[in-house]
């Protein structure tokens, strides 16, 4: 019944619109406005541009100011301060251009709307103007690029020697986090070794792997460089830690990396934001399938002391999965057994 009523309502509405349309067409034919170059609508349209400028501009400023704290993400990394600054400098420069060009674009239609008594001025070219608005943007852009280039070079420079190495491996649809252990060297991996008990495909014939351990959470120290070694084992993923201003694709067959230094512990950020629930997160930003939107991992930033304590508490992966080292050659097996017994 409701469906029927709605259908009748829509039909009625359409027929009214149709009537209005026909009537206005006939009226315009009667008035002969189709013979004129520009009708009264010209004024209305010209005015609408100004109205749009004022209302749209107002709405933009109002919302940008009101929502600033919502869309401006808290920052917690050293290089992030640089890129954020670049972002806001670019925002200022482009914002000015945006406003000036739009004021002109919407004001000119009002100011120079058609009038029978006036003629447009024949003004086909002015090379001086062209040169000015080629050179000025070129200089401004060059300055922006140089800033970006410096930041980019620093960010992508090789990680400092003392960086804490953390491996992040993406797969459908989660991240696996592996720490390099006390030697700070990750053991090799081979995707063919992947199994239910060896999700990351770690190659335990590499003795560096013996002290590697997994963690459900990415724990990192504040103020010390951390190197994410990133890879994927099935399709592309991308590690995105928004508060760290960090993003790097995880590519099967091609390990990638990103190093950074966190500047605030999770606790400090909680206090600052007055939000006891706050956590740093990692998400996936490269489309990877059904669960793309749910690849969450938590980063916990702690004080260096606490980090060292935490590191010391962790047990190598092989301690709980001794079967993984059962088939090793004699020499390594001995080493592995020593490691296991140390942590028992």
């Amino acid at each position: 019944m409701y469906g029927f009523l709605i259908a009748v309502g829509i039909l009625l509405l359409l027929s009214i619109i149709w009537m209005v349309y026909r009537i206005q067409t006939l009226v315009s034919v009667m008035k002969g406005s189709d013979k004129k170059v520009a009708t009264g609508s010209n004024k209305v349209n010209a005015f609408m541009f100004v109205l749009f400028l004022v209302l749209g501009g107002g709405l933009m400023f109002w919302y940008s100011i009101k929502e600033f704290d919502n869309y401006n993400l808290p920052l917690a990394s050293e290089h992030g301060a640089v890129t954020d600054q670049l972002f806001w400098v670019t925002m200022a420069v482009t914002g000015i251009v945006f406003i000036i060009t739009h004021v002109l674009l919407f004001w000119f239609p009002y100011k120079y709307q058609y009038s029978e008594n006036r003629r447009a001025s024949f003004y086909p070219e002015n090379n001086k103007l062209e040169v000015i608005w080629t050179v000025v943007p070129a200089i401004v852009l060059a300055l922006l690029v140089i800033g970006g280039w410096k930041a980019w070079s620093d960010i992508t420079a090789p990680a400092p020697e003392n960086s804490h190495v953390v491996e992040i491996m993406g797969y459908q649809f989660a991240w696996e986090v592996r720490y390099a252990g006390m030697d700070n060297i990750l053991g090799d991996n081979d995707y063919r070794l992947t199994s239910a008990s060896n999700v990351s495909g770690v190659d335990f014939t590499d003795k560096n792997a013996l002290d590697d351990f997994m963690s459900p959470v990415v724990v990192i120290p504040k103020g010390e460089p951390v190197l994410f070694k990133i890879r994927a084992r099935d399709v592309l993923h991308s590690v995105f830690a928004p508060h760290m201003r960090l993003k790097m694709d995880a590519v099967p067959g091609m390990p990638t990396r990103f190093w950074f230094t966190a500047t605030k512990t999770t606790e400090e950020m909680r206090a600052e934001l007055n939000d006891p629930e706050f956590v740093y997160e990692i998400a996936c930003t490269e489309i990877c399938g059904r669960g793309h939107f749910s690849m969450r991992k938590e980063i916990r930033v702690v004080e260096p002391d606490e980090f060292r304590k935490w590191m010391a508490e962790q047990k190598p992966y092989i301690v709980n999965n001794p079967s993984l080292v059962a088939d090793l050659p004699e020499e390594l097996k001995e080493l592995a057994e020593i490691t296991i017994s140390e942590h028992k």
């Binding site: 206005q24 945006f98 852009l141 280039w149 694709d249």
Partner: protein
């Protein structure tokens, strides 16, 4: 001036109009070789795809804006893609996003825009009887049609259409185990795109050849309307870059079906380790974006060309900086080929490449800026008539500015780290490439509708359509900048899984509502378009009082465009409001010698030369006539 081939030109012209065409329904409307009909075929197919593409976006906007909504009512349409509890299937969500992108970028804004206006306008504006090869032109449409049919079928297969994003990055797009859309759906996608590429190439070769070879007497390159320059450069871009997409697709086909490892390496999926080693997914990205970035300009340049023409005509002013406009388009064309890797700053490629591409990318902003300033100066001190075409052109300039400026953020690799693959990117390209080109398409339809169908579209409906769409587009895409700065990743089915994105439900709802209203407003256009085709007011021969050649044809030009001689051209197309002239426009066909009152000093000197040439031609003509008799 091109005078060498004058004699042959007029002779062939003469033959042509003596020869009557007797078309039946099939040769006139279906397998037509008339560029005007082919243009209309592209347009109608493009409109069909635009509705489908828009509809897909409305469905996924429902999911994003109203995640709790019960979508049971869509079951008759989507069947099993609605889960038992009435939600949208996450894999189908990805398929929707993928197909929306593919359809809009390729089928609407490439074929629907270039296909329509390059075909329709090139011969009419350069003064040619038809394209260089009418048959190839027909093939171009029918390859596109075949491509469309295959892509359309892929929407309805059981495993769903391709779902790896419109960029279809492997390994996701190569492995059926990774997502069901990478099965048959992806195969059909690749076949459809192969046909599409063939269609683009057939069209592009034709456009280039026609522009170079078939310009009428006096139509030198420096007298071409900017539309033609834009179509010409677009065709060159397409011709050089689409084959690279084909190579990317071909290697993908090999990886998918024949066990090669171009893009695949070290993959463990579905509980087994695949044998592929040594391939690189990044190779695909390089190949894809080598087309993908020029594609942006393939979509945008025709729109800018159309806008240049419409803004000049309706400002009653010459386009400001005609030469600067051409140079900037040339600059964009060349630079378009060497900026592709700015889509890949965080793909894992060598960061040094990132630095290089950052410099190149920001250089391309300069010609774009020049174009904007030239548009503004064209409006300045004009006598502006707001036809619907003009409104949409001004709208385009606004989107071009808004979306272009955010490109400066994304082109900067350091800033891009945070913004890459967030909604900031979505906002950026939907404004600068999507909406701007779409507005170019609409502006073109409103402006050349009288030439296409001999009738006028209703202006008032056009105004309503413009304002609803213009405001609507901003309400949809402007808020996405905030969402993007807040770091919301794109292609997410839902954002509730993360603390930092667990907000802006209100803003997303608002965006979805705006999208639905904007989509609905397009039906005003559809009504106006189809109704006016049959019942619109009959147009006058030159309704916008424009200078270009297409308005010198009869109301319904036949196959061959001009009965009798092809008109010769004596001046550039932008003599609007010339001081001294009686009218505020002087068509290109009016000789300088006929307008001594308005000639500029250097033009006055050309008058004598022009007279000599005309006398020569007259003699040739007489000689030819007597030979024929």
């Amino acid at each position: 001036m091109a005078t060498a081939n004058t004699a042959t030109h007029s002779a062939t012209g003469h033959d042509h109009h003596d020869h009557e065409h007797h078309d039946n329904f099939i040769t006139k409307y279906i397998f037509s070789t008339d560029h005007k009909m082919i243009g209309k075929q592209f347009l109608v197919t493009g409109i069909f795809w635009a509705v489908i593409g828009g509809l897909l976006s409305v469905i996924f906007r429902l999911q994003l804006g109203f995640p709790e909504m019960n979508l049971e009512w869509l079951r008759p349409l989507l069947g099993g893609w609605i889960t038992p509890d009435g939600a949208l299937d996450p894999e189908f969500y990805l398929a929707l996003v993928t197909m929306h992108g593919t359809i809009m970028v390729f089928f609407v804004l490439t074929a629907g825009l270039s296909g329509t206006f390059s075909n329709f306008l090139i011969p009419l504006q350069i003064g040619a009887r038809d394209m260089a090869s009418g048959f190839m032109n027909m093939l171009s449409y029918w390859f596109f049609f075949a491509s469309s049919v295959i892509m359309f079928i892929s929407l309805f297969i059981e495993t769903g259409p391709a779902a790896g994003g419109w960029v279809v990055y492997p390994p996701l797009s190569a492995l059926e185990q990774a997502i069901p859309g990478s099965g048959l759906g992806m195969t059909l996608w690749l076949i459809a795109m192969t046909f599409f590429i063939a269609s683009s190439l057939l069209g592009g070769i034709n456009y280039i050849t026609t522009v170079i070879n078939l310009r009428t007497k006096g139509m030198s390159f420096s007298r071409l309307p900017l539309t033609i320059w834009a179509f010409f450069l677009t065709a060159i871009l397409g011709l050089l870059s689409f084959p690279v997409l084909f190579s990317a697709a071909l290697l993908l086909v090999f990886d998918r079906s024949f066990g090669t490892s171009f893009y695949l390496s070290d993959i463990y999926i579905g509980g087994e380790a695949l044998p592929n080693t040594g391939g690189s997914p990044v190779l695909y990205q390089h190949l894809f974006w080598f087309l993908g970035h020029p594609e942006v300009y393939i979509v945008l340049l025709p729109a800018l060309g159309i806008t240049s023409e419409i803004i000049a005509t309706n400002s009653r002013k010459p386009i400001f900086g005609y030469k600067a406009m051409i140079i900037s388009m040339l600059g964009i064309t060349i630079l378009a080929f060497i900026v592709w890797a700015h889509h890949m700053y965080v793909s894992g490629m060598n960061p040094f490449l990132g630095s290089i591409f950052m410099f190149l990318t920001l250089i391309i902003a300069i010609p774009s800026a020049v174009k904007v300033f030239n548009y503004l100066t064209t409006l300045w001190r004009g006598n502006l008539i707001f036809t619907p075409g003009m409104l949409f052109s001004i709208g385009l300039v606004s989107f071009f500015i808004s979306g272009g400026l955010t490109g400066i953020f994304l082109g900067n690799s350091a800033i891009d780290i945070q913004l890459h693959d967030t909604y900031f990117v979505v906002a950026h390209f939907h404004l600068v490439m999507g909406s701007a080109s779409f507005f170019g398409l609409l502006a073109g339809v409103y402006h050349w509708f009288p030439k296409m169908f001999g009738r006028m579209m209703d202006a008032r409906l056009g105004y309503i359509h413009f304002w609803l769409t213009f405001i609507g587009v901003y309400l949809v895409f402007f808020p996405m900048h905030y969402i993007g700065i807040a770091g919301f990743p794109r292609r997410y089915y839902s954002w509730t899984g993360f603390e930092w994105t667990n907000m802006y439900t209100d803003l997303n709802m608002f965006v979805s509502l705006a999208a639905i209203i904007t989509f609905a407003a397009q039906f005003i256009f559809l009504f106006n378009f189809f109704y006016s085709m049959y019942r619109g007011r009959v147009a006058s021969l030159n309704p916008w009082r424009s200078n270009t050649l297409e308005w010198t044809t009869p109301l319904h030009p036949g196959h061959g465009n001009w009965p009798g001689e092809i008109p010769a051209v004596y001046r550039w197309p932008y003599d609007y409001s010339k001081p001294g002239a009686k009218e505020d426009f002087i068509p290109q066909t009016v000789p300088l010698s006929a307008t001594p009152e308005s000639n500029l000093p250097h033009e006055q000197e050309l008058v004598k030369l022009e007279k000599e040439i005309m006398a020569d031609e007259e003699a040739d003509l007489v000689a030819n006539e007597s030979k024929q008799v």
